[in-house]
């Protein structure tokens, strides 16, 4: 058991954005949350990583309730997030962005080099762009940097918030291939939030469907791909 969210409630002012969600992510899995705009996907991720306060419920990580910890301490425990809209530092070089990714660990040079090599192995493009400012990268490269930066902390669980947002179809396929590789090669557990339900369901092991702050369906990803309701609502292919 790795990450368990129990009956989570989150508010924006008086508006209840998350109305009691329970999600379980097991060691080594790719789990995806799909749903329409405003379903609460991003809020759920932000609450797990600590950017939004929990109103009630628990976030259990390796047996410990982390729902009251500040975000930077959750990173130390092994939860890293590549935020929505990438959130890279535009004025820092690619290398500086990556270095910030493991800010809490005061490692020596050798370990830094190992971490960098691991990221470059997944994203050779970043190595070519090392001295370039983050803000001058293309959208796809920025997404690579955001994921690579999150990996620098050697996370047990990687939270990805809409990695396909605003990218060309070729680049989307590329990013999803890398996400699968991270899961297979590094053994990193991944919780993926996506609007691109087709890609997400093809890559994930299990999936949760969110609607207006509630989980309405939970199943194996491959089953949901063939579920008539899901196909009609999220895959745009209609029931048949």
């Amino acid at each position: 058991m790795n990450l368990e969210i129990k009956d989570l409630r989150v508010f924006y002012g008086k508006i209840e954005a998350i109305k009691g969600i329970s999600v379980t992510v097991n060691q080594g899995e790719i789990v995806t949350l799909i749903g329409a705009n405003g379903a609460g996907k991003t809020t759920t991720l932000k609450t797990i990583s600590g950017l939004r306060p929990v109103a009630s419920g628990a976030i259990i990580f390796n047996g410990q309730d982390i729902s009251k910890l500040p975000a930077h301490e959750r990173v130390e425990l092994g939860i890293s997030q590549a935020p929505e809209g990438r959130g890279i530092f535009p004025g820092m070089t690619v290398l500086e962005n990556l270095e910030i990714g493991k800010y809490f660990r005061k490692d020596r040079k050798i370990e830094m080099q190992e971490d960098l090599e691991r990221v470059f192995h997944l994203f050779p493009r970043l190595k070519e762009r090392l001295t370039q400012a983050g803000g001058t990268l293309s959208g796809g490269e920025q997404q690579m940097l955001a994921i690579g930066r999150a990996l620098m902390a050697r996370p047990q669980v990687l939270l990805l918030d809409e990695p396909s947002m605003g990218l060309a179809p070729m680049m989307i396929a590329n990013i999803f291939n890398i996400i699968t590789a991270i899961n297979k090669e590094l053994g990193t557990t991944i919780l993926l939030v996506e609007q691109n339900a087709q890609q997400a369901l093809q890559r994930a092991h299990r999936a949760y469907v969110l609607e207006t702050g509630k989980v309405v369906k939970e199943a194996k990803a491959s089953d949901l791909l063939n579920d008539p309701d899901v196909r009609a609502a999220y895959l745009g292919t209609g029931a048949h």
Binding site: S49, G50, L51, P70, A71, H72, V75, E76, S80, Q81, P83, G87, I88, F89, P90, G91, M92, T93, E96, E99, I100, G101, K102, Y103, F104, K106, K127, E128, R129, L130, T131, Q132, A133, G135, T136, R149, A150, A153
Partner: protein
Amino acid sequence: MRTTNSLRNFNVRDKGAAIWSGWNRLQRTSFGIAMILLAGALPFAGNYSFSNFLNTPISNFADVLIYPVGMFVLMSLGLNIVVGKSGMLDLGYVAFFAIGAYTMAICGKWTHLNTWEILPLGIAFAMIAGVLLGIPTLRLRGDYLAIVTMGFGEIVRITALNTQKIGGPNGMANVPNPPSIHTPLGVLDFNIMTPNSFYWFVLVLILLTIWMIRRLSVRRPGRAWEAIRQDEDAAELMGVPTLKYKIWSFTLGAGVGGAAGVVYASKTLYISPDAFTFNISVLILSCVVFGGIGNIWGVVLGGVFLAYLPERIRFISNARQLVFGLTLVIIMNFRPDGILPRKKREKLSSPAIETGAK
């Protein structure tokens, strides 16, 4: 149009940085020492015919170098840690200046401590005030933080205004001067006749502050501030304890303001709440923005310019505020990022180079 553009794009900072990076250690050290000596000799500049255009009407040039020039530069450097390095808008910076000054006045008059002993106290009190204000308010961002700090600045001034024990609106007179320092080169006196000693005192504080900022900038705190300034949420997600580093930045800035206050009180001998108005906070912020937010040398230049200019043009009496304002507007139009802007890597288009070889 072309001249405007070349003026906008010409970056003295980058030119300077290019020359600097081409130098070896010896060249850098000798340049640094030469600059410090030159700065140290500044108060004499008003006495010589070839440089006496620097003289200011009414007040003595050496006095102007201490207040407002030296004080403004010191405070701008302090505020730059908060506004320039970590990107928090502080509109109540004068509060820390006031706390330093009142610490000097109260301790100097009521205890046997001298200025050198009170200086660390003044810094400490300003820093404590910084922490106390920072812990609840630094969770706020942008405009909200600006409003709260502005309120804090006024609270400190109004508290001083209404506390009869520390003089209320009349302020405190007869603040003691610092005692003399015995150096191998002779005795350095501090009184109304020796503005040069005060100037050197301020200069030492400025150099210490610059040294501190430069040290911190290249280390972990500097990287954390940079990350916070560019994207606070992302910084937190990378494991940077943002609140802790914001409080640190705020507190260090406050400490520098406190030091400036101590010097100010022991130089002018008389302080009153009138000297700590919102105006000062805005002027210091202008120095930072005008000079080049985030860049030490820009901020120093901004402080010198905005403090010196109003004094220099004092002979046109009432029109001087108008000229001052116009100068600000015109220069900010030509150089919206300040006279010496910080390194702008957002706009760099450095292609992928030499990284493959490493």
